[in-house]
Amino acid sequence: MSGGRPLTVLRDINLEIEARSAVAIVGPSGSGKTTLLALLAGLDLPTAGSVTLDGQLLNDLTEDERATLRAEKVGFVFQSFQLIPTLTALENVLVPIELQARAAKHDGSEPERRARELLARVGLADREHHYPAQLSGGEQQRVGLARAFANRPKILMADEPTGNLDADTGGTVIDLMVRLNQEEGTTLLLVTHDTQLASKAHRIVRLSGGAVVEDRRVSAP
């Protein structure tokens, strides 16, 4: 945070996202895409207005309750991967499963099997014990994908997941993400600059100056 004056980043946003649909949020830099995503995931709270996630009004929840909700229902794919450097690929994928097992107070008997299976599905079965520094950017993001799906989230949030990757690698990652999304029946919320990428979504929401300027359905979910 810098500066003291309140800054209005988003205004008059009224958005409802259907379960199991894939929505792309596009718009110029600084238009508020990331801010919107942070609000939808409960990473931040809006100064005005409300956010409801899977029937749960986020404004009513404490920080801890929002964390628990994220552990149970939200998966994240970050632009800069954000793997934990001191954990191996497998251990990184295990993190959300262990968190969820704790939040739900049941101990997952097969977290390792789930984590291994996901790593295999992103094509990294043989890199389980490698640390992030030993993986390429594309490989790191594939681990990121496996981690995002590890807790069987209801909604997957991805902010410029290919922003740090070259076009080819980015394409592979996107294909994987779309496929996993269909297989797991997850709602996908994707922030991107890439129009080609956006066209794979069912619906495209365009932001500009903090407001929705276009909301277009491309195909049925």
Binding site: T34, L37, A38, L43, L69, V74, F78, Q82, L87, R102
Partner: protein, 419 residues
């Protein structure tokens, strides 16, 4: 609680910046060494004072007639005018498990003279064979030997010998008020000279065979003033006194059994003061260490604030993030404690078994009427090792509270900013 991924992360982070971890752990380990050593030295000094203060002459436990102290009248013998079965009393006292040895004593006070020179003297009648195991005076001879029972031999302090200008084999005259109101006087031969280092003893104390003094002051052989005893551990003396008092109760002699802690309360006060200082040492050393650990933990967590943001975004509660940092600090503490114990153990053993001799710096000195040798004697107790260990772990945790809170407050939305 299931072992979450955070302990793993905390532990591995210590390995990630190994040099910083080692430097911090070394700081804590040396803090541990410093505390254990300083406290050990304080306890060594205290033990030295108590041992020396009690074993020079007084012993760690004494039995008297109830009326004897503080006037020390010559007729106030144990069991009154009828006296007591001295051998039985000695046997009962020595039978206590904490007692090493016991010896009977008779006291008299009078004038000691040789030629023109005269000085006041405290005369102590002793049984040399028993006395040797109770007090150290007979071992502090600079010349000659202890008085032989059945003779008129006398052992005097070095300062008295100087004042009277006498040497081994010279004769001195004693003039002493006796128990029957008469004045006893006789001629004695100096058999030995002792030097305890305590001015009062060396100038005015003289020892002679117990029967010889009893004859001089007209006391029957079954009349003594004191039984002095040594213990296996001075701190056992108070309990031993209670037991012996109970054991002697049936004899109905009207006696007191007092441990050194009551005979010399100022030494007990000092020992307790020294113990309070142990806490001051702990607080000072670890108080300094807190800032070192705080600095390390602030750096270590500041570098990883993005990682904490990821943990929070993925659904870790802020409390769990704080716990991770504390877990890391605790791991650092345990590491330091192990290192500290490893470096401390041999140093303590060495200091305990062969205390560094500081006599090149200063000579013997007296302290609370006790003669202290110029050595860095170190005593250690399991309790102190444990307390210091707990203090070390607490230091690591206290120093990490602020870094932990800061880490838990990293905004999770930062993960999205693409840094």
């Amino acid at each position: 609680m299931a072992p979450g991924p955070w302990w793993r992360i905390g532990w591995r982070n210590l390995g990630r910046n190994r040099r910083r971890t080692l430097i911090t752990a070394a700081g804590l380990a040396f803090g541990y060494l410093a505390v254990v050593l300083l406290v050990g030295w304080m306890e060594g000094l205290t033990a030295e004072m108590i041992e020396s203060g009690t074993s020079t002459l007084s012993g760690q436990l004494q039995v008297h007639d109830l009326d004897y102290r503080p006037e020390r009248k010559i007729y106030d013998t144990i069991g009154g005018r009828d006296g007591a079965d001295v051998d039985r009393l000695l046997g009962e006292v020595a039978a206590d498990p904490a007692i090493e040895a016991a010896a009977a004593r008779v006291f008299g006070g009078g004038l000691v003279s040789s030629g023109e020179a005269t000085t006041a003297g405290v005369l102590v009648g002793i049984d040399p064979a028993r006395e040797r195991r109770v007090s150290n005076l007979l071992r502090a001879l600079t010349a000659g030997q202890p008085p032989e029972p059945g003779t008129n031999e006398i052992l005097i302090g070095s300062e008295m010998a100087r004042q009277l200008d006498v040497d081994i084999g010279d004769e001195i005259i004693l003039v002493v008020p006796a128990a029957d109101g008469s004045m006893g006087n006789d001629l004695y031969t100096v058999s030995g000279i002792f030097r305890s280092g305590l001015a009062e003893l060396d100038a005015s104390y003289a020892m002679m065979p117990i029967e010889s003094l009893q004859t001089l002051v007209v006391l029957d052989p079954n009349r003594i003033h004191e039984i002095a005893a040594s213990t296996v551990d001075p701190w056992l003396a108070p309990e031993a006194a209670d037991r012996i008092r109970a054991r002697l109760e049936p004899l109905g002699l009207g006696i007191e059994v007092e441990p050194w802690t009551r005979l010399r309360p100022e030494m007990l006060d000092y020992a307790q003061l020294a113990q309070a200082w142990n806490w001051v040492i702990i607080v000072i050393v670890f108080g300094i260490a807190i800032f070192g650990v705080l600095n390390t933990m602030l750096m270590a967590t500041y570098e990883r604030r993005r990682e904490f943001a990821v943990m929070l975004a993925l659904g870790t509660s802020p409390l769990a993030v704080a716990r991770t940092v504390l877990a890391e600090a605790l791991s650092l503490g345990v590491l330091s404690l192990v290192a500290g114990a490893i470096i401390t153990f041999p140093v303590m053993i060495w200091f305990h078994n062969s205390p560094p001799d500081l006599s090149f710096l200063y000579g013997d000195y007296t302290f609370f009427g006790a003669l202290i040798r110029p050595r860095l004697r170190v005593e250690y107790s399991l309790e102190m090792w444990l307390l210091t260990g707990i203090a070390l772990l607490l230091t690591a945790i206290i120093a990490s509270l602020y870094p932990a809170i800061r880490s838990a407050r990293v905004p999770p939305a930062d993960t999205l900013s693409g840094l």
